[in-house]
């Protein structure tokens, strides 16, 4: 990671923290604004000293525009699998067949892999247990969740968003 990258990371961290502070506080007097700026700078300083700025892409650069449609798609998937798991729970026979499977992830950056693994966990019925290189170990409640992951739609969407973040 070059010096310019680290600088860009810090700037994007400071901007996102400042926007969050202003959204949450709702106070706009000069005293409180300067106190907020001070706390933002302290947090940015501490997290850079703790080497927490380790993503291989800056937060603001990659994951805003392209991931908004992905978020809507993910919410629809979450609702669908929620209904499926609810029906399994309410069924008196409890029709589950839990299984451990390995799923390929084609993302290159760590952050995109984490987003993929978190999306898998977020949809009920599948939980990502281990992330090892380009393979994610998934615990699934039923075959339906495994089949849906094996089609690779979610994987492909994240990889596309990662490959061309601005379009």
């Amino acid at each position: 990671m070059s010096k310019y990258d680290i600088f860009f990371h810090k700037i994007s961290l400071i901007i996102s923290l400042a926007v969050l502070w202003i959204m949450l506080s709702g106070h706009y007097t000069p005293l409180l604004l300067s106190l907020g700026l001070l706390s933002v700078l302290i947090v940015a300083f501490i997290s850079s000293r703790m080497n927490l700025i380790i993503f291989d892409q800056p937060i603001l650069q990659l994951y805003f525009i392209k991931f908004i449609p992905y978020g809507f798609w993910l919410i629809i998937q979450i609702l669908r699998s929620n209904i499926d798991v609810c029906r399994r729970i309410l069924n008196p026979k409890l029709p589950i067949n839990p299984q451990l499977v390995k799923v390929k992830s084609t993302q290159t950056s760590n952050l995109a892999k984490v987003i993929y693994a978190n999306s898998i966990t977020l949809t009920p019925g599948t939980i990502s247990i281990d992330l090892d290189g380009s393979e994610i170990e998934v615990h699934s409640l039923s075959e339906k969740g495994v089949d849906e992951l094996k089609t690779g739609t979610m994987d492909k969407k994240i990889t596309d968003a990662e490959a061309n973040p601005y379009v």
Binding site: V85, I96, N97, P98, Q99
Partner: protein, 103 residues
């Protein structure tokens, strides 16, 4: 009473019902990993519907923006917590129940 209030009330009630379904699932499931699946209903559907209902009840304001932020942070942190639980359970040699044990 206007329509928005009724709709937000429906959202909150359905969210509460889905939390009850999730709790029932935690009771009925056979082992730790399958219980995590049931609990993730509470995290996603329950939290989403209730917070969405509250946002609709509030209308567009600073408070509904904060509620939306709460929703975003819940949706980021709960899968992380579920993953940490599952991973530590697997590394603690807790074997997941497989297909053969169930049937």
């Amino acid at each position: 009473m206007d329509v928005l209030n009724i709709v937000s009330g429906v959202f909150i009630i359905v969210g509460s019902l889905s939390i009850i379904v999730g709790l029932l699932g935690v009771y009925r499931m056979p082992d730790f990993f399958t219980r995590l699946h049931a609990a993730s209903i509470i995290d996603t559907l329950g939290a989403m519907l209730i917070l969405f209902g509250l946002i609709m009840h509030q209308g567009l304001s600073m408070i509904s923006l904060k509620l939306f932020l709460i929703l975003v942070f819940i949706l980021i942190t709960t899968p992380t917590a579920a993953h940490a639980l599952a991973k530590s359970a697997l590394h603690g040699n807790l074997k997941p129940v497989t297909d053969d044990d169930c049937s």
